[in-house]
């Protein structure tokens, strides 16, 4: 007779610090090994897509901030881009550069959070305080530009609300000069740390095939070595004018996904530097009618958000309010693989895997 231990179920979340919000995973465990993992999202569902149907095109913008609240600028950008595409609007050069600068700053802020949170999940709370300290600089920069620290509502259909204030430029230059040093600190605290390496290396491996099959995007799939960065492969806005590299991982494990986020921060710094050199004076808003009424039709646009490909599908019936909006939220799609990914790994690895995928629950539940 074959002896076998009995499996038991363990409930992780919905209120657990390592779930990065209100997210629940029901784990079926055999000893310490995961037999089955069932993600249960939906605790932060606010019905943003439905709310948008009762609001004008401009009024939807503050709601997009509330999806990925760690990179609100990018969420703004993805949405306004779809309306602009539907209206066939030409965006002024300066507005495009401003969007790139604030978008990349948002990406840096988001990655700082992600890097620090993974460290904190795995017990390295010191690294978390370091990334939070530096994220504060980015939030200050975005605050002096837009007035808010996280929910910016900075972009508009046709451009941006306000130009950079004069105090922004010296502050940004100071931040850019400090950024490589900050990244070195994270590398010193986490990337080279033996305990951290033991917890993340060769853990939660995503093969390129499975990544593509599950439609993963962003650092999650680039960690597996798949070169999928819309800024490079299908440049939108003015990203074809910048010289930057897309960092790629090799093994597709938690360590690779973590490491390349730090690399991406460095690359984002380079993009901002180039944008600062190229930016010229000019208008920041295209000629847009006061009441935005896109023609009847539908449109889908994608941008590379900090978590992956953020798409926005918009259907217009010619009125002042969108008929239907759907947002392709990268965190949600990336999370789809979590159930299968956790199988066979230990309970402690689940925390590392979840942290390395870098989900934001505002975006997952929308």
């Amino acid at each position: 007779m074959k002896t076998q231990t009995q499996t038991y179920s363990l409930n992780l979340g919905p209120q657990h610090p390592s779930t990065h919000g209100v997210f629940r995973i029901i784990l079926e465990l055999d000893g310490e090994f995961v037999v089955k993992a069932t993600p249960v999202p939906g605790y932060l569902h606010r019905g943003i897509e439905k709310l948008a149907e009762a609001r004008t095109y401009t009024q939807v913008i503050p709601y997009t901030d509330r999806m990925d609240y760690l990179a609100g600028m990018l969420m703004n950008w993805g949405y306004v881009m779809s309306v602009e595409k539907l209206m066939s609007l030409e965006i002024p050069e300066r507005a495009e550069y401003i969007r790139v600068i604030v978008g990349e700053l948002s990406r840096i802020a988001s990655h700082m959070m992600s890097v620090g949170a993974l460290g904190a999940d795995l017990g390295a709370l010191t690294a978390f305080t370091y990334t939070f300290r530096d994220r504060e600089y980015v939030m200050d920069l975005l605050e002096m530009t837009s007035g808010s620290r996280m929910t910016f509502n900075y972009m508009r259909v046709g451009g941006v609300v306000k130009d950079f204030p004069p105090e922004f430029y010296p502050a940004l230059k100071h931040f850019l000069s400090e950024l490589p040093g900050m990244c070195d600190e994270y590398d010193g605290l986490l990337t080279g740390n033996e305990i951290f390496i033991a917890r993340t290396k060769n853990i939660g491996i995503i093969t390129p095939e499975m990544g593509i099959n599950y439609s993963l995007s962003g650092p999650t799939i680039r960690g597996s070595g798949v070169n999928l960065d819309l800024r490079k492969t299908r440049p939108y806005s003015i990203y074809d004018r910048f010289d930057f590299q897309v960092p790629l991982g090799e093994n597709g494990d938690c360590y690779d996904r973590f490491r390349l986020r730090i690399e991406e921060m460095r690359q984002s710094g380079k993009i901002i530097q180039q944008a600062l050199e190229q930016i010229e004076e000019g208008p920041i808003m295209a000629k847009v009618p006061k009441i935005i009424k896109p023609p009847v039709g539908d449109v889908y646009t994608e941008i590379e958000s900090s978590k992956g490909i953020y798409g926005s599908y918009l259907v217009s019936d010619g009125s002042t309010k969108p008929y239907r909006i759907h947002f392709r939220r990268p965190s949600f799609i990336n999370l789809g693989y979590l159930g299968d990914l956790c199988k066979g790994w230990k309970l402690a690895d689940v925390i590392a895997i979840l942290g390395s995928i870098d989900i934001v629950l505002g975006e997952v539940d929308c």
């Binding site: 009024q59 503050p62 530009t145 007035g147 509502n153 204030p165």
Partner: protein, 146 residues
């Protein structure tokens, strides 16, 4: 390997420990807000022309505005913001043609009771000499409802 990474990490933390302090003791020391900071709203009732653009711009129907006609002009009698529903998106400030509503640097909006949260920014009667009796009765009854 062999603990080199741990030593490197310790070096960084030690260096930071001797470095400049990053935080302030909040209630005693306050940091200065940026000019564009989205703090509590302030309205200049004299500038306001009661056009209602802010009411329409708001995505959450936060703003309630009451007005009375005085002579040929509209007179703002009541301006209430249900701030508990406010997104602080600034669309009302952006749309105002007379620059009457603005953000301030005040961050302290905490209240002990929920009903106190609502910002009653303007609550006044229209100038008496130009109003007939019926309008006065109307305005007093709406006050009680509010």
């Amino acid at each position: 390997m062999f603990g080199k990474g741990l030593v490197k990490g310790l070096k960084i933390t030690w260096k930071r420990m001797l470095g400049k302090k990053q935080t302030v003791k909040y209630p005693f020391t306050k940091i200065e807000m940026f000019p564009r900071f989205h703090g509590r709203f302030v309205i200049d009732p004299d500038k306001c022309i009661s056009c209602g653009l802010c009411v329409n711009a708001c995505p959450n129907k936060v703003i309630q505005l009451e007005k009375q006609k005085v002579g040929t002009k509209q007179y703002l009698t009541k301006y209430t913001m249900k701030i508990e529903y406010c997104l602080f998106c600034g669309l009302c400030v952006e749309v105002c043609p007379k620059d009457a509503i603005n953000f301030s640097e005040i961050i302290d909006m905490n209240q002990y009771r929920r009903e106190w949260v609502t910002l009653k920014m303007v609550d006044r009667d229209a100038p008496v000499e130009t109003i007939d009796d019926n309008a006065l009765i109307d305005s007093s009854s709406s006050h009680k409802e509010g």
